[in-house]
Amino acid sequence: MQQDDIMEQLLLDLFSKYPAGKKEGLIPILQEIQEEKGSLTGEILTAVAQHLELPVNKVYGVAAFYNQFLFRPHGAFHIQVCDGTGCHLGGSVSLLTAVEKFLKIKAGNTSRDGQFSLEAVPCMGACDQSPVISINGERYPRINEEELRKIIGVIKEKKV
């Protein structure tokens, strides 16, 4: 109930900031909700669509285009494996498969207990450190499969 109230307040604030029926407000609104809530749900998309007088599918289509918008929240530990050109050549694909096996989730998904989420991202801009991964924003340079297993093992121990 409380959660709903917070959400409603957030939407009300946003809707007074971005005028109704003006579609240029779409991406900023979605960004603020994403920032605040961590993901976009069906009810939110419908509310935003109604405010901006757009079809719900249009809103979903725009959100689905960008990696920054999530339809399910990230896990407590969000692992990003860089798959830019440099890291790709440096073996990012086998890293990614290793993590997938290790955590039993596919790239783009969140584990059922909400602990881990995994994502393959385009270039992180750290090609000198390839292959590189990032866990909750902290970067791990020149990593190999063995080290990665170790790091994840440590995190698994201190599970929140």
Partner: protein, 573 residues
């Protein structure tokens, strides 16, 4: 501004602001396209219309490239042909190899191009992402595997229907046409009009077929199958089988239906007359009390769904009268149970409609005490034509079958339902009589005729001026609603048809109809009106008889279940 350009070494006149394709179309140079639709935003998605322009480094898509003074264009050079062939080969790379089992087999634009370009083998093979066929919707089936991402459906849905039920989801090689959270078309905002089906170049969008159900019913000895057909069917059949569109077509169609095994054949136009009587009474009441104006017609199920889903504030302005299809179904069941001694559940009513939304509408109404649906199955005009082929009906051997069933007397007003503006014309004839007790003279309202998506007229009834508007294409209805919201108050009656120009261009009609065939379909219906003796619903003796013996007065309480419906809003979640 006009100027001269060169196309394949010939000098031709072009106008500023035109695209290259506009010029090519005008001079009869055909370039293929899988994504362009005339009158819609050009996107250049499929790139099959590419041409060579002297001085430009690459090939340019003619559908979206503006024409310029200096241009020398070549449309069928070896370079262009090779590019087009490769493009089709690439489209086929991820396409399922199941043409033989595809609904569109023989009428598929992709298949035609593949044939034209002499493609004899699968040159490229791409990874296929497993996708689910959306089968749950009662009107439309969507198979994303056959989709080539031309986006025609999206443009029609956005620009003509104004609903946006489908959208491009995802990015790059992962992008596909889909819906929010991959929900089916039955639960999202889709109004089931089927306009997307009429533009889809492949078999990705097709109607949910009822042919099997109908065939089973025809062969089930327990059942008493009957068919009711819409005013658009004779023209559709005449087009398909190259028959002369004379009055006799109707009787030949009737004979064909009987041959297929339908016990009785009904013309829905009679029920349209009933709809008109009820609506006119509703309007007269609303004009008297000045409440619930403007009055919106409700015979188009896509429009009704649109209001329920997206504009529920207008629910109380909608007519409560049932659509002709539903009234006819109900009347037929009542009539046959009493006259032919059949049980209501054994009477199988099939309707032949130019419409996919009618399939959904048929699932809405059930007779109170028996829980039997008013209408059991709906076939689109495309399907009924298919059934005629399947049953081996040869029109050259058919004797025209005279009208013999009950309800066969109908006014020509009922026939005019087939096109935008026609419903209004018929409605005003009866409204005039109900309000003044006199016949309207002249009957014809020129302002409401012609191939336009918005038609307005001011009509004098007695001392009053009645303002009426006909809009077709839901996006245009949306604009009208905006005008009303902005303060336009003088309108009394609005007729809305979801499909542009009305049912004659419905989602269940033959694909890719051009302006010429739309005009000829329109002419057939106006010609019937011209020749008919009974031109208004209230002059139809069957109707007056029904009211005298059975229904009472129009828009009273006794006939509620038969003729009226209560409406509820629904909201996309």
């Amino acid at each position: 501004m006009q100027f001269e350009i060169e196309v394949n070494d010939e000098h031709v006149i072009a106008r500023r602001g035109e695209t290259i394709k506009n010029v090519l179309d005008r001079i009869g140079v055909k370039v293929p396209t899988l994504c362009h639709i005339n009158g819609f935003t050009p996107t250049g998605n499929c790139r099959l219309c590419v041409v060579e322009v002297d001085g430009l480094p690459g090939l340019v898509p003619s559908c979206s490239h503006p024409v310029e003074e200096w241009m020398k264009i070549r449309t069928h050079t070896p370079r262009v042909l090779k590019a087009r062939k490769t493009l089709v080969e690439l489209l086929l790379a991820g396409h399922p190899n199941d043409c033989l089992y595809c609904e569109k087999n023989g009428r598929c634009e992709l298949q035609e191009l593949s044939y034209e370009m002499q493609i004899r083998e699968r040159k490229y093979q791409s990874r296929r992402i497993p996708v689910q066929i959306d089968k749950a919707c009662p009107s439309i089936e969507r198979d994303p595997a056959k989709c080539i991402l031309c986006e025609r459906c999206i443009r029609v849905c956005n620009e003509m229907i104004g609903v946006g039920a489908i959208e491009i989801i995802g990015r790059g090689s992962e992008s596909r046409i889909g819906t929010t959270y991959n929900k089916g078309l039955n639960t999202n905002a889709c109004v089931k009009c089927g306009q997307c089906i009429t533009v889809c170049p492949t078999g990705a969008l097709i109607e949910k077929t009822a042919i099997h159900t109908v065939l089973e019913a025809l062969n089930n000895p327990r059942l008493y199958p009957v068919v009711q057909f819409s005013p658009t069917l004779p023209a559709a059949i005449a087009e398909e089988f190259n028959l002369k569109s004379t009055k006799d077509v109707l009787n030949i169609v009737r004979a064909a239906m009987k041959k297929m095994g339908f016990r009785q054949v009904f013309d829905i136009s009679m029920a349209a007359d009933l709809t008109l009587m009820e609506e006119a009474a509703e309007i007269a009441e609303r004009i008297r009390t000045q409440e619930g104006l403007p009055f919106f017609t409700s015979c188009c199920p896509s429009w009704v769904r649109y209001v329920e889903e997206l504009k529920p504030v207008y629910l109380s302005s909608l007519s409560t009268t049932r659509s002709p299809q539903q009234i006819m179904g109900r009347m037929i069941k009542q009539y046959i149970t009493t006259s032919a001694g059949q049980k209501a559940e054994d009477v199988f009513v099939v309707s032949a409609m130019p419409c996919t939304a009618k399939k959904e509408e048929a699932g809405k109404d059930f007779i109170k005490d028996t829980q039997v649906p008013f209408v059991d199955a709906v076939l689109t005009n495309r399907e009924i034509i298919k059934l005629i082929h399947l049953m081996g009906i040869d029109f050259s051997f058919l004797e025209p079958e005279p009208e013999d069933s009950a309800f066969s007397i109908r006014s020509s007003s009922g026939k005019l339902f087939g096109m935008a503006g026609g419903h209004l014309e018929g409605l005003i004839r009866t409204l005039h009589f109900q309000m003044t007790g006199q016949e309207m003279n002249p009957l014809k309202i020129q302002d409401l005729r012609g191939l336009k998506t918005r038609k307005e007229a001011r009509i004098k009834i007695g001392k009053q001026i009645i303002n009426v508007v006909s809009v077709s294409g839901l996006a245009h209805a949306k604009h009208l609603l905006e005008e009303i919201e902005a303060g336009r108050r003088e309108i009394h009656i609005v007729e809305v048809m979801a499909c542009p120009y009305g049912c004659l261009n419905g989602g269940g009609q033959r694909q890719g109809a051009d302006e010429k065939s739309l005009k000829s379909r329109m002419k057939i219906l106006y010609d019937i009106d011209e020749e008919e003796i009974i031109k208004a619903a209230h002059k139809n003796p069957t109707i007056t008889g029904l009211y005298e013996n059975f229904l009472g007065k129009p828009n009273n309480d006794r006939d509620r279940e038969f003729l009226h419906v209560s409406r509820v809003a629904r909201q996309e979640k």
